[in-house]
Symmetry: C2
Subunit: 356 residues, 2 copies
């Protein structure tokens, strides 16, 4: 193994040299080496870049040193609530894995959404010579980036802002995936959506349970996919205060009480879906024989219910890995990088029950 301090004296291979050898642009080389899949780089091109990197002895560790040169070998992940709540922590894990491979340490700090604390933390971190920032949000949303972050390399994680490198989940694609899973099972005219912004919600940066980008984009994707199949949602079961189990139970209880006969429920997150299970159980309806259910998030709740809940997962660890890689390598993209949200199959989807 090479010394982690790389005092060997051989000249450092640059990304530009790898790109030149592979016959691709520097951006394409960066994307290929970051394992990113959103740009249309063919597998053949990607393999050529990796081969060129190998032949030249270019390694992530080497590029990591670009960020580190003469600096502290320390990066800070500054977030609203990720470090202090049991949600989205896998983003920190992903970032840590990538940074650790690059011999770079990670500090995590939470502002709890307080701009004063945020400014103090940023100044404190800059005073301590951190080499770069991952600016992260617990819920996917648009952010106004505090000016102090611009004093070091910056990548946004699970949030977006114009002209700043960013990594966010492909929420619209996730909506399409959820709708497709139900269409594929034969559902069509009695698919309901469970979830809404609670009354009075203004789109501000509240954290406890809603996510402007997620709801809007998931719903867009669902509607687009259903429209492409010549159908539409039968309706929406709105929730009252939060995206939690109790609100899911209440919303679906109201829906069933209204006389609606859903064949399938697309729930805005897993907690609402678990609440839907409870409401269906009380109404003596079986999942999936009587009603199919699908959620979003891919959380541990999917395994807590019987049968296991099918969900479209937030790829938190991958978001963290990719954002850290972009911070280490420098990112040439001007639009947010969208990470696909995978379907995690459970046993909560079946063919629609026969209607009488």
């Amino acid at each position: 193994m090479a010394s982690s301090d790389g005092q060997g004296g051989s000249r450092r291979v640059t990304l530009t040299e790898v790109a030149r050898r592979a016959g691709v642009s520097r951006s394409a080389a960066s994307f290929a080496l970051n394992g990113r899949t959103d740009l249309r780089i063919s597998e053949e091109t990607s393999a050529r870049v990796r081969r060129a990197a190998e032949e030249l002895g270019y390694s992530p560790n080497t590029t990591a040193r670009t960020l580190r040169t003469g600096k502290s070998g320390t990066v800070a992940l500054i977030s609203d609530f990720i470090g202090t709540t049991s949600f989205a922590n896998a983003m920190v894990r992903g970032a840590l894995q990538t940074l650790r491979d690059a011999d770079t340490l990670l500090y995590t700090v939470d502002t709890q959404g307080d701009p004063d604390v945020e400014a103090k933390l940023l100044q404190n971190l800059l005073d301590r010579d951190v080499d770069g920032f991952l600016y992260a949000s617990m819920f996917t949303r648009q952010v106004d980036v505090p000016p102090l972050t611009r004093n070091a390399p910056l990548v946004l994680l699970n949030c977006a802002s114009p002209d700043i490198p960013a990594v966010i989940p492909d929420e619209r694609g996730a909506g399409e995936t959820a709708a497709a899973a139900l269409l594929d099972a034969g559902h069509r005219d009695a698919i309901w959506f469970v979830g809404s912004f609670p009354p009075g919600f203004t789109g501000a940066a509240v954290w406890n349970g809603w996510s402007p980008l997620a709801l809007t984009e998931r719903l867009d994707g669902i509607q687009a996919r259903l429209a492409a199949a010549g159908t539409a949602l039968a309706g929406t079961a709105p929730i009252e205060t939060d995206w939690d189990v109790e609100n899911g139970r209440a919303a679906v209880t109201r829906l069933l009480g209204s006389g609606a006969r859903p064949s399938a429920l697309i729930c805005a997150n897993d907690a609402l879906a678990v609440g839907a299970y409870h409401a269906l159980s009380v109404a003596a309806l079986q999942v999936p024989e009587d009603v199919s259910v699908i959620g979003f998030d891919g959380s541990a709740l999917t395994q807590a219910v019987l049968p296991r809940l099918t969900s479209v997962a937030l790829p938190y660890e991958e978001l963290g890995r990719i954002a850290a890689g972009m911070l280490l390598q420098g990112d040439p993209a001007s639009r947010p990088h969208r990470v696909p949200m995978p379907l995690v199959p459970g046993a909560s989807i079946a063919s629609p029950a026969p209607r009488d």
Copy 2:
């Protein structure tokens, strides 16, 4: 509100002066002001200390400045996995709340259990003049504290080591609480424990699902409480690989298949209890009419099952708050501070079903 920088010039009131005015020892005053309940300080004494503190204008913020004086106003929470997993994060939240009230910033760093990373992080943090360390473990356990932590004030959080101030959950009391809840409902001779160390477990600092102190002490408490009532566990349903839903389901399926007829199950954590629900459901046994169930942790899983699971909760936020308070004030105790684990009632305990 006073300026957070406290430039007012009035002399700082010390804890010793508060103790003298209240007529108690400095330790007792410290315990009373930290809201600690493990020492046998009467409510009357505690009230006298608080009154003295108020009369003298002594405040946590004032004491916070003791740690900060001439330093960086920054504390680091160094843990194995807390920042990168969705477990125990409330400890960070509790610490952050207390530190924020004291105008002190918190860095969180995870070592992922790697001693090399740990040493690098500690040196990195010391180079940056952090004022103190909270050394934390995701699972309650004995730790060997790395020597570098001794270069700054140190409090252990959810772990223990001889002669170092530490805060841990009262796991033995939690076991007693669980047993008492079942005894109170009338259970006696058919109470089974679900959970064990998996085969080959050696007590090393593995993280993924077991907790040496928790299992041993919870079981001690259960057995002591049952013995005090003149009875004992009917037996243990061992688990195979981890304390998760699937292992809980498998363990209880085997138990029922062996012909055992439990009236109640004490599960080593909530995930195993959820698995127990699934096994009981498949066997057409109702919770709590046929079998009562209780878990430990007080996690979000308790709300995912119907009826809601009764659990003995890990007081994570309180652990974090108390540890941060001890770090700010200096802690005179030589034994670990034990924080009570509260019963969080669900609807999973009822009187035993009649036996034929």
